[in-house]
Symmetry: C2
């Protein structure tokens, strides 16, 4: 716990925030922020000042301060300014209910430009920012300032915080694990290669192996970390660098205990976020998710049958749910269970990673699960194989060489208890919750095959892919 | 907030933890964990069972359960077991005050082996684990299980949590930023190169540039993220992959506001951790840090004078404090101010990164600072240059090409307010707080030039360093 007593500094050293101005009527205050808009009404100049708390109307009257008014004529959008002035109550008919400071305005006495801004390449003054995605991303440092964009990341921060709260409820310890690895996590080809002091190394595709090792130490762990996906994919769901929120728990008593845990985390996270930020969801026009007391659970085969019943499509030869099926089963859950969540279990063993525990009753299927939310998967996980010999066999069946996983195998040599876990993608979850069209909108600085901040130009020097073998 | 009402599952589904057994005298319970040690006393077999809460003594008496006793004869260290039994109060003279469950023991009725363990390569039963660092790391998945090792990471988790708490007190928003970058953060050569879809990219050396961009959006931000350091260094202070805990704040009113903020975070973090884990500090034999009400602040030149006075060493031509100086100035702070912290400011502008704000009163020195703790630096930071033109000039003076920092420069084109921030290294801080000899002990799976989990063998295939130009 932080002792507030020891914290003697004033939090903004004299400055007050826009949202606090209604408590300062008739007082002289200092505010600082960006010029969101300027309106000249005859001799009066109005600006909307934006700080981290919201907007404040400032009026420059030459009869109050000629100097301040003169500077105000030169203010342009995104100038950073410092303004001293007096807070006046607005007449009732002038109250702006849309902003927290709408009952007052600041009468400027003194203004100082802290930093100028170039002319904006497009209008940022509207309620929405109608830009194509490439333009939005080309000007990311600027477009993030628009409320409709940066609110996404206020929600994202809340998701991460609620995830940690839920993980702590489950008595998980936070761990910090490496992202540079000697082997590809799941033996796949879609990994980024890094030149590690002349050795070939890889950026990890997931925190999977390390969180499993760590349950043999701490029993229950959580981690928020980066994962790297080198698939040459340009879909609306793909990012090359993502943030994973993972939990892993040992000494589980049953498969149902894992399902209880993941549903607890999923629902309490979403519930926490919408309680904290219902205003943002409203502002972004997002429908409030339906969170039932009990999330419906289905085996994948039963989910397929429901899809078939509802659509007539024959899925009997399908080994997985495709995106269309996921949307359909979510529609079903919404209609039948008033739930935006649905848990699907028992995916085919051959469709899951080598460490997935086959169902002892029918090893064709596995003790795996996805949590679907608003039409698509936001979480994936499983009980894991914990027996060393069984793991070696499973690896060999998937053409994975145990010798490339030395530190991982070591954990299984010395008593790995029954365990399992799950993983959320932070950007994917943000996208689903806020009903964004593209996952790139849910990443501050998205990485994909065409862009690292700036788009790669066609003339850009390319390095040759590394040819050596691992 | 998480609603506890909705969480119907029993947290361990019937299993109880070792630390809760004293509340269950004469009851039948289920416990699970690892065999820490087995002692055969005539017909009785004792084991120390270890779970995430601590140790529990279990006694196997053949007259109580012949089956359980028989299995117990085969138990070896690190077997994962599940035991049903009855909790008995120990006679007063048998109480073990060293463990939380020391007033009771479990009389085993039924035992199940959940996972076997190979014979350990060394004894793990002692209070300390007397292994050389390479051995400790070669067997990391195993050695982490030893209490003297994994307690380090309980403390590390608490440091991160207290950092976030302090950052939230400062009204910072958490951000998630990329680690793959198009340019080297500070223009240095010691960066890891990644093959990014055939383009040359870099692993970021710090979150610096993105956190600065983000204060032009959210004003106050914090981030916990990875940073990558490719220096070919094998010192006890160097890791190739580290965890950074960063804060950045815009609209600062003064340099002192930044110093107040960093000292607030530093002291409340350490204070929080030692309050929460005083038992671990005691267990690891660590002296409790001295945290004064007011941390002493010194300009670097004044710190050098004090070192000269105390040691006779002439530092008048030195542009920085070397490790020996840092130790000496920490000794001074301890003696004169009863403080394990000391803040040193105004390092020479030429020794700091391009974005550092020169002191307007004397631009040879900069508005920079380090926080020293127990003999060395745990935090570094500065006020930053916020004017676009001044930044371009500063970059050119340091041979940094602004064209390689497009997204960063963009933020400065549109009104970057006065701002500054600071950065802690999580592993470094863990090492200092717990007085560890080597920073590798403070990283779960340390990365250095000789090792990714396993040591590189001499015959290992090396890839050629990329030869192309960026």
């Amino acid at each position: 716990m932080i002792s507030k007593v020891v914290f003697h500094m004033s939090k903004d050293a004299g400055r007050i925030l826009a949202s606090n101005t209604p408590q300062k009527i008739d007082e002289e205050v200092l505010v600082q922020g960006w010029v969101q808009a300027r309106r000249d009404h005859g001799k009066l100049i109005f600006i909307d000042l934006r700080d981290r708390s919201g907007l404040l109307q400032v009026v420059f009257n030459p009869r109050v301060s000629e100097d301040a008014h003169k500077i105000a004529t030169e203010l342009r959008p995104e100038y950073a300014v410092s303004i001293k002035g007096k807070i006046n109550k607005r007449p009732d008919h002038m109250v702006n209910a849309k902003i927290a400071s709408g009952t007052v305005e600041l009468e400027a006495l003194k203004v100082e430009v802290l930093a100028k801004a170039e002319t904006l390449p497009f209008d940022m003054g509207g309620e929405t920012l109608n830009l194509e995605l490439p333009t939005l991303l080309d000007h990311r440092s600027l477009t993030l300032r628009h409320e409709s964009v940066n609110k996404i990341f206020k929600v994202q921060a809340a998701i991460a915080e609620e995830f940690r709260n839920a993980a702590k409820e489950l008595q998980c310890t936070e761990i910090f694990i490496p992202t540079i690895s000697a082997g590809a996590t799941e033996g796949g080809a879609d990994v980024f290669v890094v030149d590690y002091y002349g050795h070939k190394a890889y950026m990890t595709q997931s925190p999977q192996l390390y969180k499993q090792i760590m349950v043999s130490v701490l029993e229950r762990v959580f981690v928020i970390t980066k994962a790297y996906r080198a698939e040459p994919s340009m879909t609306t769901r793909h990012l090359s660098e993502v943030t994973m929120m993972d939990i892993e728990m040992a000494y589980i008593q049953s498969f149902e205990e894992l399902l209880d845990a993941l549903e607890f985390v999923g629902r309490s996270m979403i519930k926490g976020v919408i309680e904290k930020h219902s205003d943002i969801l409203e502002r972004l026009g997002v429908e409030k998710p339906l969170i039932p007391t009990k999330i419906p659970r289905l085996k994948m085969r039963d989910a397929q049958k429901i899809v078939t019943e509802r659509t007539g499509r024959d899925l009997s030869n399908e080994l997985d749910l495709n995106p269309e099926d996921e949307r359909e089963i979510c529609e079903w859950a919404k209609e039948e269970h008033k739930s935006d969540f649905v848990t699907v279990t028992h995916y085919p063993t051959k469709k899951r990673a080598f460490y997935t525990y086959p169902d002892p009753g029918d090893p064709t299927y596995s003790l795996s699960y996805d949590l679907l939310f608003k039409g698509s998967e936001i979480l994936s996980g499983a009980r894991r194989i914990n027996d060393y010999d069984q793991l070696v066999t499973a690896m060999k069946n998937k053409d994975v060489n145990p010798d490339n996983f030395g530190m991982y195998m070591q954990a299984f040599k010395y008593g790995m208890p029954p365990e399992g876990g799950f993983s959320f993608g932070l950007e994917r979850l943000t996208m689903k919750l806020l009903e964004l069209a593209n996952v790139r909108e849910a990443s501050l600085f998205p990485r994909d095959m065409e862009r690292i901040d700036e788009r790669f130009s066609v003339t850009e020097t390319k390095i040759k892919p590394t040819q050596q073998e691992a």
